[in-house]
């Protein structure tokens, strides 16, 4: 059964998630209490596998924001981030039949998100559709709403600084960028990042070491 939150005609996720139903799942014997040591999200995913649409709505509600923010930072384009987030959850849903709780759900979801973002960057699509709020538009006007507490000069310096940060991040190789986004903004541990990127922990340390070294070289003067 396809849950109500996926439009059967378009195959797209609807924006309004259905209310989760802890008591309405197919396997009612598993809808009682979940031990603290269990991965809640994996448990929800197992319920999705077993036909509980409310659990998918809950997963969407819990993880859509973090995934969307991660993808936005990766691709630096709001519309593309939305589109890729949609794709992540469609893939999660389509994979429900084969789901085994062998890894944390978040690691699995971030692995899909990372894969999609790396493909998007690798295909060079970032060069064709680059617009972001801290970037200048074609007519030269900054899209970021100016802060009225700053003078014009301070605002220009601030916008230049943001542009420099964005360019520094964009200048990182895609895997290094993904590692930094997960480490800095999701506070993920090395093992989790390794699971999401699909490499060893020592490789993650190396990615982060090189990424931060490059960022320090470009941004240290901002101190």
């Amino acid at each position: 059964m396809i849950p109500d939150l996926i439009d059967q005609e378009t195959g797209q996720l609807t924006t309004c998630a259905a209310q989760p139903s802890w008591d309405g799942g197919v396997n009612n014997d598993r809808t009682t209490s979940i031990p603290a040591h269990r991965d809640w999200d994996a448990e929800l995913m197992l319920r999705v596998r077993d036909g509980d649409p409310g659990s998918f709505a809950l997963l969407l509600e819990r993880h859509r924001g973090p995934i969307l923010h991660f993808l936005y930072r990766m691709v630096q384009n709001e519309a593309v981030a939305e589109e890729l987030t949609q794709e992540v959850f469609l893939r999660v849903y389509k994979s429900r039949g084969n789901y085994e709780a062998t890894a944390k759900f978040t690691t699995w979801a971030f692995r899909i998100a990372t894969h999609l973002a790396l493909n998007w960057i690798r295909d060079g699509r970032s060069e064709k559709s680059q617009t972001s709020l801290d970037e200048e538009t074609s007519n030269g006007a900054g899209r970021q709403v100016p802060d009225r507490r700053r003078t014009v000069e301070q605002e220009l310096v601030y916008q230049a600084k943001l542009r420099e940060v964005r360019e520094a991040i964009k200048g990182l190789p895609a895997k290094q960028r993904a590692a930094v986004m997960m480490h800095k903004y999701r506070e993920m541990e090395y093992a989790q990042i390794a699971g999401a990127i699909g490499c060893s922990e020592s490789a993650v340390k190396s990615l982060l070491f090189r990424a931060y070294e490059a960022l320090r070289a470009r941004l240290a003067h901002m101190a």
Binding site: K161, I169, F209, Y212, E213, R216, L219, M222, A223
Partner: protein
């Protein structure tokens, strides 16, 4: 003069120190080390600048 910790270890400590992911004793030990190691102190200051810049950039994205 280079850091006696070596590049890999000092790099990891600098990142962990700035991210505040070191344990309490490691944090204190590294703070002591920073007082006598110019290379690490410089790297830690630069890493902090990166950290702050990333925070600022993220705040802009969050407001969008």
């Amino acid at each position: 003069m280079g850091c006696p910790l070596g590049l890999d270890e000092s790099g990891e400590l600098v990142v962990g120190y700035t991210a505040r992911t070191l344990g309490p004793s490691a944090q204190i030990a590294f703070e002591r080390h920073l007082k006598c190691c110019g290379a690490c102190a410089e790297a830690a200051a630069a890493q902090q600048a990166v950290w702050d810049a990333l925070d600022e950039w993220d705040a802009v994205l969050a407001r969008s």
